[in-house]
Assembly symmetry: C2
Homo-oligomer: 232 residues x 2
C-alpha cells in the first residue's frame, strides 16, 4: 500500500457541529422576528434537503455555490412548514453556515494530524464559506479545498480526484476522513483511503451513523484517536 501523505476532511458533521449551531441561529432569528416555529425540525428538514439539491446542481449545466443552493432549499422548507421569516433573517440563516462550532476535539485533533500529514478540507462548502468557517472556529488545515474547485459536488468522483491532484498526491496516498458512509464509499471508489469518525451527536440523537463496509477501513471516535490509529 502507498504511504499515506495527506488527509482530506469532510466538514459539515465531521469537523463541525452544524445542527446545534444552526438550531441556535434559527431560534435567535425566530425570536428577533417574533416568529414561532419548531426550529430544530426546520433545521433538520433544511439539512435533509441538502443532498437532493446538490444532486440537482450536479445534473445542471451551471454550478452554483452552497449559499445559493441553501437559499433555495430554505425557502422551500419554510414554505412547506408554513413559516414566514423576513428575507434578512433568511439570509442570516444562510450565512449562519459560516458560524458552525467545531466539535470539541477538532482544533487540537487537526493540529496533531498536521504534524505528520498534509491536511485539507474537502467539503461541499465553497472556498469563501470554508475560509470564514475556519476563521470563526479557530481551526486550521494546510489547504482549504472544496468541491467548488472541481466545479461539482461530492460524491462526484471528480471532486476526490481533484482534491488528491491539487495536493500533488496519488489517490492512494490520501485518506478521506468523514462521519458519513456515502462520502467514504465514493472516495474509496476512486482510490482514496477511507477513515471513518463516529459523530453520534451530529443529528442530536446520540447515535452515530454505521461505518461503511469497506476494506482497510479505519474507525475512530475522535481525531486524536484517529491519529493514534494511524500510528502517530
Amino acid at each position: 500500500m502507498a504511504e499515506l501523505r495527506a488527509l482530506v476532511f469532510d466538514v459539515f458533521g465531521t469537523l463541525v457541529d452544524w445542527r446545534s449551531s444552526m438550531v441556535a441561529e434559527a431560534l435567535a432569528a425566530g425570536r428577533r422576528a417574533g416568529v414561532d416555529a419548531d426550529w430544530p425540525a426546520v433545521v433538520d428538514d433544511w439539512r435533509r434537503a441538502y443532498h437532493p439539491a446538490l444532486d440537482r446542481v450536479r445534473a445542471d449545466a451551471a454550478w452554483r455555490d452552497l449559499d445559493d443552493v441553501q437559499r433555495g432549499t430554505l425557502t422551500d422548507v419554510l414554505a412547506r412548514r408554513g413559516v414566514t421569516l423576513p428575507a434578512d433573517e433568511q439570509e442570516g440563516l444562510v450565512q449562519g453556515w459560516r458560524r458552525l462550532r467545531p466539535w470539541p476535539d477538532t482544533p487540537a485533533g487537526l493540529e496533531l494530524l498536521r504534524t505528520r500529514l498534509i491536511t485539507a478540507t474537502l467539503s461541499n462548502g465553497h472556498v469563501a464559506l470554508l475560509v470564514e468557517l475556519l476563521r470563526f472556529g479557530g481551526w486550521r488545515v494546510d489547504a482549504v479545498l472544496s468541491a467548488e474547485l472541481a466545479g461539482s459536488y461530492k460524491p462526484d468522483p471528480a471532486v476526490y480526484r481533484r482534491g488528491a491532484a491539487l495536493l500533488g498526491c496519488a489517490p492512494g496516498e490520501v485518506g478521506m476522513v468523514a462521519a458519513h458512509a456515502g462520502d467514504l464509499w465514493a472516495a474509496a471508489e476512486v482510490g482514496l483511503r477511507p477513515l471513518f469518525v463516529r459523530r453520534p451527536h451530529e443529528w442530536g440523537t446520540g447515535v452515530a451513523e454505521d461505518p461503511p463496509d469497506l476494506p482497510d477501513l479505519v474507525v475512530a471516535d475522535s481525531l486524536p484517536e484517529l491519529s493514534s490509529h494511524l500510528g502517530h
Copy 2:
C-alpha cells in the same frame, strides 16, 4: 471605495527569500555531486527564465505546473552554462522551491494582517508546492490560492479575478500584495487594490524594485508596516 476585506499575496520574493534559499540548495547540490559552477549565477539565470517560460505556458493549450516548467528551464540554464548535474540533483533543485525561507517579518506580519482581513496566497506556484512551502516555513494564510486554480499564470487577469471570486469578494474588496510592479499593474487592471512591499534583498543587491505608478498605491517596507498603513 469598497471596504478592504481580503489580501492576496504574491509569494516568491514577496513572502519568501527564494534567492538565498536556492543559492544554498544549489551550492549543496554542487558539493554533493562534485560539480563546480557559479551557482548564484545559475540560480539567477534560472529565475530570469521563469517569466518567459510562464508566458509560453499561457500561450499553450495545456497548463503545466511550476515543477514541470522549472525542470525544463533548469535543464536549459545548465546547458547554456555548460554545467552537468546528475538528474537526481536537478530534481532536488526543482523540489527546493518548496524549501524557501520566509522573510523574517513574514510569519508574524501575516498573523497581524489575519486578525482583521482574510489572507490568501495568490502565487504562480501550484497548490501542492505552496502547501509544502508554508509547512516548511511555518507561516499561515487563510487560504492557499494559486494561478493553478484559474488554469493559468499571472499576469493573466483571470488569475486575479478567480482569486477574488474564490474568496467571495468583489475585486475592489481585495488588496494584492507584491514586491513586483508587474504583478500590481495586472491586479489593478482588473480592480484589485495595489499594495507594494519593498524587498531590497530579493536579488541580493540591497536595491528594491521601484513601486509602480498606480493611483492609491500603498507602499511599505515590511508586512507589519503594511498593517499599520492599513490603519490596523
